[in-house]
């Protein structure tokens, strides 16, 4: 029986349900020390003096001078120090590391730091520190705008968002084999491997990174584990003992990355009958104090900024700038939720300006196979923007409810959106990911660097391999990646783990099948010993991208979706309650329908939080509500009933037609909800749409 398309038991379910799965804080090594990070308390300035006011017996202490390699967090730019030398650019910047056997002694250790404070900058519109800018140009926007019958302008704002994975960041570094092994809660073992190599100045083979079971990531464990792993490794190598460094919730929220706040401006020209003729879009993202992943977040944000629409004249100017808050970074959606919030609320306002049905406006303009995106990419036969829209409209009774809700305290709104699968542009080619299969006495073992972070990686990969080899799912073994024995499959990000890594595994399987003939791999193993097949990513044919002009095929393919939100507003308090949600999402092929529905439901809930309640309160550059009683995310009681419809229009790029599903679900809920609020007559252009903000909008419109 084929495994793909069925709800096989998760590979990791027994351990997780019975509580035997081991997370990093469950691990104890002999002679282990605990570590603590001393951080800056000011947003900008210079360190004048660091005084250790405690008895140093039994302590290992490290500052920037102890960094044996280069004092940088190796990522895109090398601008961020692992440990501040003199200059402070944000609150919670690491300055000093302490380790001690006893946690209480460690906590009591007092360090006094004198600063020479400098004027911080928090407003991205006033920043002169450019982290990255890019321009996407198609046609001639100015001329098209000048000739447009109607021009609609608007500015849209989104705030920070915290990933709030259940397990905070944490690692253990163990000195061994003349180098160091880091065990940790992380998404991208090979990112950490590279960062360690540079920070420690050690050769590749002296560094080993092992993922421990990971309690969620949402992008928040894409780049940050490189920082914390380097810290622990430096301590471990100096102390010559294992070192455990685990953040508590406060530290994790205060110090680690969040979603980039954004300001997006639109100027759209349309004909009176609703055809888009020109889209002029300016995107500004607040990157925080260092570059981290801002250039790539900005890039994905910009490419998605015009939405899934056909328009001949598009100009997207995007900038990420620096401010004195902790750096922002990867978070599910990676820039696309920000820009698609803007374009989808803008579309609603255009419909309003034209007195046109919002679904009809989108129907007119939705990309069809053969149309080109803003970067000039011709979308293929798997472009189903129109189908998901029509299905969502019908399924939710959008038009009926739009009429029936008019004049009541209920509203209904929709959003049409898309999400590119895999790395942007030439990213996948540069990555050149590899994956491998190895025959075993049970069958076959998958060797990949992809991380299970709760989303179901191991299960989904095993399904693909089982069916590609024609063996039972149970005969496929999976495990936690360990850089010493798996190839680099690239990071577990960008909705690429199924389409890209799964695709490589599929090729490994057919190669293995050729080698072993009709035999079960187990049989082959018994007769001939282990056989390993390793394959590298092969760029799909006919895909071309130009990094300099931002023209071409930004992604191998896209997934398409339409969300419909129904909300109820309390007419006196302006509290919004989502009452029903319809999500029609085309992800090519659901390898595991339950896991796919879980991604859509979870992403939708996270998107509802983003839209309504998740607010990072920044006070003097520091998160003031850095705990779960104050930074609120929706509970099951705040999440509406969801009608999730999985559409499967196969892509020939992915295994069994699959595209990515991890990120797209978070792109749509915020604009759908804000558009539902707009249906109630309230002009909201900023999220989170808290009752306070809506009350203000109500005063203005009254």
């Amino acid at each position: 029986m084929p495994a793909v398309g069925t709800n096989v038991p998760r590979k990791d379910s027994t351990e997780k349900v019975t509580g035997t799965a081991r997370y990093v804080d469950d691990l104890v090594f002999p002679g282990m020390l605990h570590a603590r990070t001393i951080r800056s308390t000011i947003p900008r300035g210079r360190i004048r003096d660091v005084r250790l006011s405690f008895d140093r017996a039994g302590f290992t202490i490290i500052d920037h001078r102890d960094v044996t390699g280069r004092n940088v967090v190796a990522l895109i730019e090398d601008d961020q120090p692992l440990l501040a030398e003199r200059e402070i650019r944000h609150v919670a910047e690491p300055i000093l590391l302490l380790a001690h056997e006893d946690l209480d002694t460690l906590r009591r250790a007092r360090v006094d730091i004198d600063y020479e404070p400098l004027e911080p900058l928090f407003d991205p519109t006033r920043s002169t520190q450019l982290l990255k800018d890019l321009r996407i140009v198609k046609g001639d926007v100015e001329q098209a705008l000048a000739g447009a019958e109607v021009v609609v302008e608007g500015e849209y704002r989104t705030g920070h968002q915290e990933q709030l994975y259940i397990e905070p960041n944490g690692v253990i570094a163990v000195p061994e084999n003349g180098g160091v092994t880091v065990h940790g809660s992380l998404q991208c073992p090979f990112y950490v491997h590279k960062a360690l190599r540079i920070a420690l100045g050690l050769p590749d083979d002296r560094i080993r990174v092992v993922q421990t079971e990971t309690g969620g990531g949402f992008g928040g464990k894409e780049e940050y584990p490189s920082v914390i792993a380097a810290h622990a490794a430096l301590l471990a190598l100096k102390a010559k003992r294992p070192v455990k460094l685990i953040y508590d919730r406060l530290e994790d929220m205060l110090a680690t990355t969040k979603r980039h706040p954004s300001i997006v401006r639109h100027r759209t020209g349309v004909t009176r009958d609703g055809r888009l003729v020109a889209m002029d879009i300016e995107v500004l993202m607040d990157g925080g104090a260092y570059v981290t992943l801002s250039p790539v977040v900005l890039s994905r944000g910009a490419i998605h900024a015009a939405g899934p629409y056909r328009c001949d004249h598009v100009r997207i100017e995007a900038r990420a700038v620096g401010t004195n808050t902790p750096p922002n970074g990867a978070f599910r959606g990676f820039g696309a939720p920000q820009t698609q919030f803007a374009v989808e609320v803008q579309m609603e306002r255009i419909a309003e300006a034209l007195s046109m049905d919002p679904a009809r406006l989108r129907e007119l303009n939705a990309l069809r196979p053969g149309d080109t995106t803003a970067t000039g990419q011709r979308v293929e036969a798997d472009c189903s923007a129109l189908q998901v829209l029509q299905q969502a409209v019908e399924r939710s009774d959008f038009h009926g409810k739009r009429e029936r809700y008019a004049g009541t305290n209920r509203g209904i709104g929709l959003s049409l959106f898309f999400h590119g699968a895999g790395f942007t542009g030439s990213g996948e080619v540069k990555l050149a990911s590899r994956a491998a299969l190895c025959t075993t006495e049970r069958g076959v073992r998958i060797l990949v660097g992809s991380a299970e972070i709760g989303q179901g990686t191991r299960t989904m990969h095993a399904q693909i391999v089982a069916d590609s080899l024609g063996i039972p799912y149970e005969d496929v073994e999976t495990g936690l990646p360990d850089t010493s024995n798996v190839p680099d499959s690239g990071p577990t990000v960008a909705s690429r783990t199924c389409m890209v890594v799964g695709g490589i595994l599929q090729r490994c399987a057919s190669d293995l099948r050729e080698r072993i003939g009709d035999m079960h791999p187990r049989e082959h193993f018994t007769k001939h010993g282990a056989t390993v097949v390793t394959k590298e990513y092969e760029p799909p044919h006919g895909i071309a991208w130009d990094d300099d002009t931002y023209r071409g095929d930004a992604y191998a393919t896209y997934a398409w979706a339409c969300d419909v939100a129904e909300v109820e507003m309390d007419p006196d308090t302006y509290e919004i309650r989502p009452i029903h949600f319809t999500a029609v999402q085309d992800i090519g092929k659901a390898i595991h329908p339950v896991l796919v529905a879980g991604q859509i439901e979870g992403g939708t809930a996270q998107g509802i939080g983003y839209a309504l309640i998740e607010e990072v309160v920044m006070r003097e550059g520091a998160m003031a509500n850095a705990q779960m009683t104050n930074y609120l995310v929706p509970t099951t009681l705040d999440t509406p009933t969801m009608d999730v419809v999985i559409v499967e229009t196969p892509s020939h790029h992915g295994p069994f037609g699959a595209k990515g599903v991890g990120e797209m679900p978070i792109d749509g809920p915020a604009p759908a909800i804000v558009n539902a609020i707009r249906h109630l007559g309230l002009d909201i252009r900023q999220i989170p749409a808290t009752p306070e903000r809506i009350a203000e909008a109500a005063c203005v419109s009254a």
Binding site: D25, D248, L250, A626, Q627, T629, T635, T636, E692
Partner: protein, 332 residues
């Protein structure tokens, strides 16, 4: 992970033994019932008793006795889950049952007790933070520090009364019984609270809360309700609570009333002007509106909880109005 400090732990099985142990260990000692307030506070080093005396093994504190006609007595260690589900309480004291039901989450209600709920510590965004956070702002006067971050020139602490049960107890005119080696006394719940974020209780620390006494209720002679404002439908403490009790004369007019606001001050704030506005009326919209206005004016929330100040104050009007509308609806 936040960890508990070390402490000595006792599990007495009688009230007598509990108060004796407490007195012996004074002053650095605390009672614990469900521990859902005390233990998190200890983890954050807001409270650091050297001795903790657990009350959950004392059978006497776990009983519910009496009848609605004669009044009911709820043992202090009855859990919120038990209280919310108790049939007579649910049917005849719906405000009490509802206030217990809207506390936090099922898991917390399974542990948390009504006694702990009535004695819940006051809360503040500058205070309910872990030790490191508070240290970074140099603490505040509620613990370890000098000044108040909410009102820096103020000589007092403005931490907020944040229990759902408290405004209901006061509005109902319930009593409580407390006991210590010094003796036992029964007092109105209203007499238990002070408008001070630090010394928020009018009882000695050694006084053990034994019981919560609900007043008699006969068919329709009075009705009560509770309304809670918070951002989500689970977990969150009240950012505003409105409890109201309205007594009706035979002719259906209001003979007496008590309207109490939670989470706007350090104590449950009774607004007698709001009650006055409805006495003698039949809870018509005009009277309800006048009561809502009267409650709105003196309500002075401070900027130390969720939501913005202005909006919270505005919500007092809405919630008082709705509370009284609830009662009118119950009465018809």
């Amino acid at each position: 992970m936040l960890r508990l400090p070390r402490f000595t732990y006792h599990e007495p099985t009688t009230v007598g033994e509990a108060v004796r142990l407490f007195t012996e260990a004074m002053p650095d000692v605390a009672y614990v019932a469900g521990g859902t307030d005390l233990y998190p506070n200890m983890k954050r080093r807001q409270q650091t008793p050297a001795t903790v005396i657990a009350l959950h093994r004392i059978p006497e504190l776990r009983a519910i006795a009496g009848t609605p006609e004669s009044g009911m007595t709820i043992g202090a260690c009855v859990t919120l889950t038990e209280l919310a589900a108790h049939e007579a309480v649910r049917l005849r004291y719906p405000a009490v049952s509802h206030a217990a039901h809207v506390v936090s989450t099922p898991i917390l209600r399974n542990m948390g007790t009504i006694g702990g709920n009535l004695l819940l510590d006051t809360r503040c965004n500058y205070y309910d933070q872990n030790y490191e956070w508070r240290k970074a702002i140099n603490f505040c006067m509620k613990r370890d520090g000098e000044i108040c971050w909410v009102a820096p020139s103020s000589p007092r602490c403005w931490a907020v009364q944040s229990s759902d049960g408290v405004p209901v107890a006061v509005a109902l005119g319930a009593d409580v019984t407390v006991t210590s080696v010094r003796g036992t006394r029964r007092l109105p719940a209203a007499g238990l609270y002070r408008n001070d974020g630090i010394q928020y209780l009018e009882k000695g620390p050694d006084e053990l809360l034994v019981a919560y006494h609900l007043p008699p209720v006969r068919d329709g002679d009075w009705r009560a309700t509770y309304r809670k404002l918070r951002r989500r439908d689970a977990f969150d403490f009240p950012v505003l609570g409105v409890a109201a009790r309205v007594d009706f004369a035979r002719d259906g007019s209001v003979s007496a009333a008590r309207i109490v606001l939670g989470a706007v001050a350090s104590y449950p704030q009774e607004i007698s002007a709001a009650a006055d506005a409805i006495i003698g009326t039949r809870l018509d919209e005009g009277a309800i509106g006048a009561a809502a206005d009267a409650a709105y004016r003196p309500a002075k929330p401070m900027d130390n909880t969720d939501f913005t100040l202005a909006w919270r104050k505005e919500m007092v009007r809405v919630h008082v109005q709705r509370a009284l509308q609830d009662i009118r609806a119950q009465n018809t």
